[in-house]
């Protein structure tokens, strides 16, 4: 642990955080890390469901050995400020996969913050985040990617899509790429939009009730974030948690 001081709004990776909620969280949870070292060739598979009613901060610092993989999937559907922060340091032929769903209404901030450090050549990372919000909720995805000067042949991808169901909801996407190597692929995309009204009408015209149509469209929208999760039962469990948030809203 290098720092014990509480973050402020001037800290880039905390700029969209809910500081009032942060004050209620023990300092050790805000500033501390769960540190995990993944041995060469090993796979770390983790899923997170954040759905508590109290502010929740989880911070994971992962170091991947050569050829190791980290496969992290998360649903953040909490009803209070909730943040999952992941820092990953990659070595040659290692891979970091992250799929995240931010979903919910209320006056709640939910966020994913990742820092992907391509410290060595020939590592890959892929991050897919989908956010669905209503009420006055906001969903944030801050994704920083650092590519070191000698980390050639890095392949890093980051994709964010936000869907806002009501006026007043918001989504913040902050891709931040610092690339010092010259032979790398770094793709990133971020879009925010509304539900496709024509698709909704088309479904209604065939008899699908509006709430069911919305459910199907939102599930389809979220699918990309969980598509890379190979364990189908676990994938279904995460979908259920995400879609249960919608039912609470109805």
């Amino acid at each position: 642990m290098t720092t014990t001081t509480m973050p402020t709004i001037r800290d880039e990776e905390w700029r969209y955080a809910d500081f009032a909620a942060l004050e209620t969280v023990p300092e050790a949870e805000v500033t501390g890390w769960d540190e995990i070292a993944v041995a060469p060739g090993e796979v770390l598979a983790r899923t997170f469901v954040l759905d508590g009613a109290a502010p929740d901060i989880q911070r994971l610092r992962i170091t991947l050995g050569e050829g190791a993989r980290a496969e992290i999937f998360a649903v953040n559907a909490a009803s209070a400020y909730a943040r999952l922060e992941i820092e990953v340091t990659l070595t040659p032929h290692s891979h970091f996969e992250f799929g995240g769903v931010l979903i919910g209404g209320g006056d709640v901030t939910r966020e994913f913050v990742t820092r992907t450090i391509h410290a060595e050549p020939e590592a890959t990372s892929n991050q897919t985040v989908r956010a669905v919000h209503w009420g006055t909720a906001s969903g944030n995805y801050l994704g920083r990617i650092d590519v070191a000067r000698h980390a050639q042949k890095t392949d890093a991808a980051q994709d964010f899509k936000g869907l806002l169901l009501e006026k007043g909801a918001s989504a913040n996407a902050k891709p931040e790429l610092e690339i010092f190597a010259d032979d790398v692929k770094c793709a990133h995309g971020a879009t925010v939009g509304q539900l496709d009204e024509m698709a909704r009408y088309y479904m209604a015209s065939r008899g699908v009730a509006p709430d069911v149509a919305e459910h199907l469209l939102i599930r389809a929208f979220l699918a990309d974030a969980l598509a890379a999760l190979g364990d189908e039962a676990e994938q279904e469990r995460l979908f259920d948690h995400a879609l249960a948030a919608l039912e609470k809203a109805a």
């Binding site: 496709d196 009408y201 479904m203 015209s205 065939r206 008899g207 699908v208 509006p210 199907l216 469209l217």
Partner: protein
């Protein structure tokens, strides 16, 4: 079955339908033809309840009920089907999933038991075969990556599965090659040519009417029906053009 009386409708404050009246009885096929901008698609969307199309006067009665008071999904459950001129793509939702949800939603409203996965697939296969659409396509996302002709055939497969009482088909023939036109025409006959059903075909061209013989043909121009007749009216239009026939 369907009675449209003095219908006025507008989009974005612009009046498109200006006193349209039309009556369809069970067992009949009607065709509406008309020049571009006459209000053909507006009529289909007003009947289908598309948001943004505002009815300012007149009425539409469907089997004695006020069609305009129903939400789009309620119209579907009551046996109304709209074949879209531009079928909508829905990435992430498969045709099979979508149509099974649609059919079972309709059945629930009508107090019928939902179909199981197996029963539904059997029905879907039968209708896909009727329209010569590869069953594999129904497992793909709704209309995503479909050619224009495949989208139109998919509309007809949907109609076959949902088995409506009244179908309004908006330019179902556009985008079809000659072979597909025949398949679609025969599909419409097989699904809808029944004594308890009716069809309203909206088209630019006579060619679909070679396969689906209309009992009545109407010319829509300037937001209202300006001329009605039998199947021969469509032939005259094809030969003489709208201006000539309407002036006669």
């Amino acid at each position: 079955m369907l009675k449209i009386d003095n219908l006025h409708a507008e989009i974005g404050g612009k009046e498109i339908l200006k006193g349209l009246s039309l009556e369809l009885n069970a067992g009949e096929v009607h065709a509406i033809m008309g020049p571009n901008g006459a209000g053909k698609s507006t009529l289909s969307y007003v009947l289908g309840g598309r948001p943004g199309y505002e009815v300012t006067a007149g009425s539409v009665t469907y089997n004695g009920e006020d069609l305009l008071a129903m939400d789009p999904h309620e119209r579907a459950a009551a046996g109304f089907f709209l074949g879209f001129q531009y079928p909508v793509e829905i990435p992430g939702v498969s045709n099979v999933q979508f149509l099974r949800e649609a059919l079972n939603s309709q059945r629930r409203v009508r107090g019928e038991e939902p179909l199981s996965g197996g029963e539904f697939l059997k029905l879907a296969k039968e209708k896909a075969a009727l329209l010569k659409l590869d069953m594999e396509m129904l497992k793909r996302f709704v209309n995503v990556g479909f050619s224009g002709g495949e989208k139109k055939r998919n509309e007809m497969v949907q109609m076959g599965i949902l088995d409506p009482k009244l179908a309004v088909l908006d330019e179902t023939d556009s985008g079809l090659d000659i072979d597909a036109l025949k398949v679609v025409g025969e599909g419409i006959n097989a699904i809808m040519r029944q004594p308890d059903k009716a069809v309203l075909l909206i088209t630019h061209y006579q060619r679909l009417l070679d396969y689906v013989k209309p009992d009545f043909v109407h010319i829509l121009a300037g937001g209202r029906i300006v001329k009605s007749g039998g199947a021969d009216l469509a032939h005259r239009l094809e030969e003489e053009g709208y201006d000539e026939v309407m002036a006669a």
